[in-house]
Subunit: 411 residues, 2 copies
């Protein structure tokens, strides 16, 4: 089926700056898609390290197992190989055989151990990935490797996405300029921890792997783990952050080093940008929804309440129908299981206070709220009124488009 | 909007046998609906007791708070008043004022304390229930009370339901015949603990309230708490079981008494019947789905895995599209958070083993499975392969109809 572009799509993919130490090539494997690149190789300079946040699904794919082992083993990385169209998940021993074969084949080309070839696969579950159809393409990929091919990577990793996603920022560490560039994909099965979501981010910063990991985890929580399209969690979710070490900044050895402040902020902003691009391409999405929760018992409670609202099919369909049905927001708070007090709860929509202290505000005029609900950007704010925990999560509405796409994905 | 009847609707409402000690009347309040009864009074004989399972939502309605207090206070009951169209939820002090006023008004008519007038409201959240518009209707309701009016009750409590729901069974206690009859409503916002679901069940058995409550709880877990339409939990869910004590059976004073065996089985079967009627009227439902989980670490784990599958939008849309996408079932098991081992997992669809030991079965032929998926009754069986816990849950598919109904409910 052909998908119409999301009405929330950005006007264009931004310029994705090259990252010293990263070369990229893409090609058409012909495995699932016709006439579009679906296989992508990132070559990483010697000395590169990778940090990662991967799906917690107990039925995760072979490539997720492989990446987890690679990170646990120290995170040295020389390449990332990504294919779109086949998730290589729930494929038993054949799945891991394919990952090993591809790791060995790429490693041989680059003169690196197989385990330094990180891998990610996305697409249909349960169909073994035919490594033997991909390995013959690898020498050609290697020949095409280029410094300035992030946009090609952004396109090659897509599945049901309707547009390519990427972002790039310039920042500094100890006064030395460094670049962070990333691409990602994902449109359905998007939920925290994590999503049918792949994201590959690289920087030329020179950081020890444990420092990189310590920086990545909270940034992932504030970004990819704060978005949801349908509450479903994929078997394949992978966020990898590579540091090639090509930048010549002063040595930094602790995640708490104050000289990392700008870098951390830039990384966090970049990941939030990428995560929001994913939500805006949520399957069938027509509205982008920001849910802010304040006054919860803790930060975690605020996030769980926010996700209960953002995942509620009744809230999401009301938004699709431009219906300022704040009662459903109250319902979602109630079902979150988090501490709340009906008689202290406040709800605002589009900046207008709708309900406070357990009831609709006196003289409530729905006119400005109804106008807000007709827009593309919806803001729902909930004040739980019992503590100081706050969090923001993002989602999209639930429309006929979601059903169209998901009732028909394999056919 | 007008709703087309669910294609899963039963041919007709079964005959609902009168229950000695229960009289019923319904009328049109004009509050929300036009030209249909939406207010229902159950008069209960003196000596009646009531047990209940009510929503755990922290933002529950005033009438839920009222019923919980009534049960906690011993469960003596002389009436149940139910209105459809206004949930009287999140209505602050005005909500409880309305409940108190209605309790007092019905109590005065029947010569009973207000607290013995149980109440339930379903419909839009956030609009205070105007008790003053209902109280003038109560004397008329009282005059119309009849023994054989369960069908009228089944119709008066509906909201977005497309058909009336009820069931009746004849059973015995210690050799003496007793009747159990019940009605219920609910079509969206259906999820365990509990749902926008109201169910009123009565029997002429003579049982102490604590015994009645002890019998009801596990039967509710196996029925209403094992169904889900959209994973959303309502502020109003109420299941009440009345025992009028009119049957002249031998005294039974313990829930564990073996003479209650037939009664318990009958009650459980009746509640499962009612719960399945609710799922089959799930908003937009076109297929009825049974999910059976075996081999889980515990009964609770099996139920949670079953609900993760039954609540997954991706599983539900695949079913809507008659797509035997078992990979999404695997995904849902993985995200349930329950103990599972990918390499021991087995999945059957329509009785055909599709995947075992972490991979698709050798020579898998999708033909019979695809045929099964085109039917109205879908069976998904998952064997987790690690323990002895099992559970069955029921749901429906996620279709365009759900979006139509829920994007437009208030307008």
């Amino acid at each position: 089926m052909s998908l119409k572009p999301s009405p929330l799509a950005p006007a264009a993919l931004p310029r994705l700056a090259p990252v010293p130490g990263v070369r990229i090539a893409t090609t058409e494997s012909g495995l699932r898609y016709k006439n579009r690149p679906d296989l992508c190789l990132f070559e990483l300079a010697p000395g590169s390290v990778v940090a990662g946040v991967l799906t917690r699904s107990l039925t995760c794919s072979a490539s997720v197992d492989w990446c987890k082992a690679g990170i646990k083993g120290g995170g040295k990385a020389r390449a990332i190989l990504v294919n779109a169209g086949n998730a290589n998940a729930f494929t038993g021993k054949l799945g891991m055989d394919a990952v090993k074969a591809l790791g060995a084949a790429v490693g041989k080309l680059l003169g690196a151990p197989a385990k330094q070839v990180f891998q990610a696969s996305t697409g249909v579950i349960g169909v073994p990935l035919p490594a033997e159809k991909l390995t013959p393409l690898l020498p050609g990929l290697q020949k095409q490797l280029g410094d300035d091919a992030w946009e090609q990577a952004a396109r090659a990793i897509l599945t049901t996405d309707t547009y390519a996603k990427g972002a790039s920022v310039a920042t500094e560490i100890a006064g030395t300029p460094v670049t962070i560039t990333g691409v990602c994909k994902g449109s359905g099965m998007i939920a925290p921890d994590m999503a049918t979501m792949l994201a590959f981010v690289a920087t030329d910063a020179k950081l020890p792997q444990p420092v990189l990991q310590a920086i990545l985890a909270p940034a992932a929580d504030a970004s990819f783990n704060a978005i949801t399209v349908d509450g479903d969690t994929s078997t394949s979710d992978t966020l990898l952050l590579v540091a090639t070490g090509q930048a010549k900044h002063a040595k930094v050895e602790r995640a708490g080093d104050p000289r990392l402040k700008a870098f951390k902020a830039a990384l966090r902003a970049l990941l939030i940008d990428l995560a929001q691009q994913v939500v805006k391409d949520g399957e069938g999405a027509e509205k982008f929804v920001t849910v802010t929760v304040t006054g919860a018992a803790s930060k975690g409670a605020a996030r769980r309440i926010g996700l209960a609202i953002a995942n509620s099919p009744l809230v999401k369909t009301a938004i699709a129908g431009a219906d300022a049905n704040w009662g459903r927001v109250v319902m979602a708070v109630g079902k979150s299981g988090e501490k709340a007090d009906r008689d202290r709860l406040g709800v605002s929509i589009g900046g207008v206070l709708v309900a406070a202290k357990g009831a609709v505000v006196p003289g409530y005029d729905e006119t400005p709220v109804a106008r807000h609900m007709k827009g593309r950007d919806i803001l729902i704010e909930v004040d739980v009124g019992i503590g100081k925990g706050s969090a923001t999560v993002w989602t999209c509405d639930l429309t006929h488009g979601y059903i169209d796409i998901n009732a028909d994905y394999r056919s």
